[in-house]
């Protein structure tokens, strides 16, 4: 089982755990393996019980609490590329990129999209299940990548048509000036956006985002659910109707403005300056959520914050509510 420990150490280092954590995790495992052997398990059984070191390291990592030790918010390696499997996709367009910055303008209806970075030098656009490419405008002019479903082609009964899946890969060192994404009902996965303005809008599609580093972030949805992890920004505007938002690991240097009707907000490891929370019945629940100031305007929505560090004070600017309240535990 020495190999298990060695592999585990390697995986933990890859995920940038600090030395103290690595030491502790390895010691815990040494002890547990020792205990397992003493109960008469042979090497094979032990192996089965302890499983795969890579998965384990990721599992420990994704629990998010490791963040507290890393002040510089190293979100799962912002400069590394997420592997996207394009084996089943067809390459439809490639555009060479000459400058270091560009903008993104994507507007889709029901198609799914995966957006990520890659090691290559060009923009690559893949599709799967696309019926007619003429229904789309795909272009790259003046450093703006545009992918749009043409309006006139949207049929009233468009739900009867099976939607396509797109994968868009962008060279990894590119920064975006504007990153605009809009979808009606497609599911979206976005990885690594370094930009000045980042605006993501979804009517009912679910969106998963990892790693945004942007001066401004604006997110809005009617009924789509958002899952975000790894954000660094100066300001964050969030607008929900009934969709929910789950956000892990975010550092917002300025204001965090939230408007919701009934959508709930779930935050974990989030820091910001002022949170302005306006809600009808949606709740805001924060674990390790450290705003400096908080203002609540609500009908029945609550704010519930549970933090370990009691020394970091949260100042309540305003609490105006019919039956909602702010609870800090």
């Amino acid at each position: 089982m020495n190999k298990f420990l060695k592999d585990l150490e390697k995986e933990l280092k890859k995920l940038k755990f600090n030395e103290e954590d690595i030491k502790e995790i390895l010691e815990d495992h040494k002890e547990m393996i020792d205990a397992a052997k003493r109960e008469g398990l042979d090497e094979k059984e032990v192996e089965k019980k302890f499983g795969n070191p890579e998965k384990l390291a990721k599992e420990i990592h994704s629990d998010g609490t490791e963040l507290n030790n890393n002040e510089d918010y190293n979100f799962n390696n912002i400069d590394s590329c997420v592997e996207v499997d394009t084996a089943e996709f067809n390459l439809v367009k490639t555009f060479p990129v000459l400058s270091k910055s560009m903008s993104i303008d994507i507007s889709l209806v029901g198609d799914d999209l995966t957006f990520a970075k890659h090691d290559g030098e060009s923009i690559l656009i893949y599709e799967k299940g696309l019926k007619n490419i003429d229904e789309y405008t795909i272009s790259f002019n003046n450093d703006i990548l545009q992918v749009r479903k043409n309006k006139k082609m949207i049929k009233v009964f468009s739900f009867t048509i099976k939607n396509a899946e797109f994968v868009i890969l962008i060279p990894k060192n590119i920064k975006f000036n504007n990153f605009d994404y809009y979808t009606i009902s497609g599911s979206t996965t976005i990885d690594s956006v370094i930009s000045n303005n980042c605006a993501i809008k979804s009517t009912s599609g679910d969106v998963e985002i990892t790693n945004i580093n942007s001066k401004k972030v604006k997110i809005s949805t009617i009924s789509g659910d958002f899952e975000i992890s790894g954000v660094k920004t100066e300001s964050f505007e969030l607008s929900l109707i009934s969709g929910d938002l789950e956000m892990k690991k975010a550092l917002i240097q300025g204001d965090f403005d939230i408007n919701t009707v009934s959508g709930d907000i779930d935050l974990k490891n989030v820091e910001c300056h002022t949170v302005n929370f306006k809600t009808v019945s949606g709740d805001l629940e924060g674990k390790e959520f450290y705003p400096k100031e908080i203002a609540l305007k609500s009908v029945s929505g609550d704010v519930i914050i549970s933090n370990n560090n009691k020394n970091r004070e949260i100042h309540i600017l305003k609490e105006k509510s019919v039956s909602g309240e702010i609870v800090i535990k």
């Binding site: 995790i25 815990d28 495992h29 040494k30 002890e31 547990m32 020792d34 205990a35 397992a36 003493r38 109960e39 089965k48 019980k49 302890f50 499983g51 795969n52 998965k55 384990l56 599992e59 420990i60 629990d63 609490t65 507290n68 674990k287 370990n308």
Partner: protein, 121 residues
């Protein structure tokens, strides 16, 4: 099973084990894996996270056999969290059974009713 869902359930099981008595890591894993299909990969991260969040504390016990062992102990905060989780679990699973049992409790019953209904149609 959905990973997130499973994680939540295992978390409840870990809490439940430790509410009964203080235990060392491997014992918790062993106890739980006797009843449900989980391995160390799932349980250790939960132990670690709940410790960091102040639901457990740990202490070391020297043993005559081999290395000293780290015991986990539920704090008051952890106990309250357990009650909360347990409540929502009971409520949830109760609700699920309400729904499932609408169609009958036994497979034969359900099948009979389904046959009858589809025949009419």
């Amino acid at each position: 099973m959905n990973a997130q869902f499973k994680r939540g359930i295992v978390e409840l099981c870990v809490l439940s084990e430790l509410v009964m008595e203080d235990m060392y890591g491997y014992k918790i894993i062993n106890n739980i894996s006797q009843d449900i299909d989980v391995n160390e990969n799932t349980i250790y991260p939960i132990l670690r996270r709940l410790t960091k969040e102040g639901y457990f504390t740990t202490y070391i016990v020297e043993s005559d056999l081999g290395a000293p062992r780290k015991y986990y102990k539920v704090t008051e905060k952890g106990f309250n969290y357990y009650l909360e989780l347990r409540d929502s679990w009971d409520q949830f699973i109760g609700g699920v059974y309400e729904i499932l049992n609408k169609g009958g409790k036994k497979n034969e019953q359900i099948l009979e009713r389904f046959r009858k209904r589809t025949k009419e149609a």
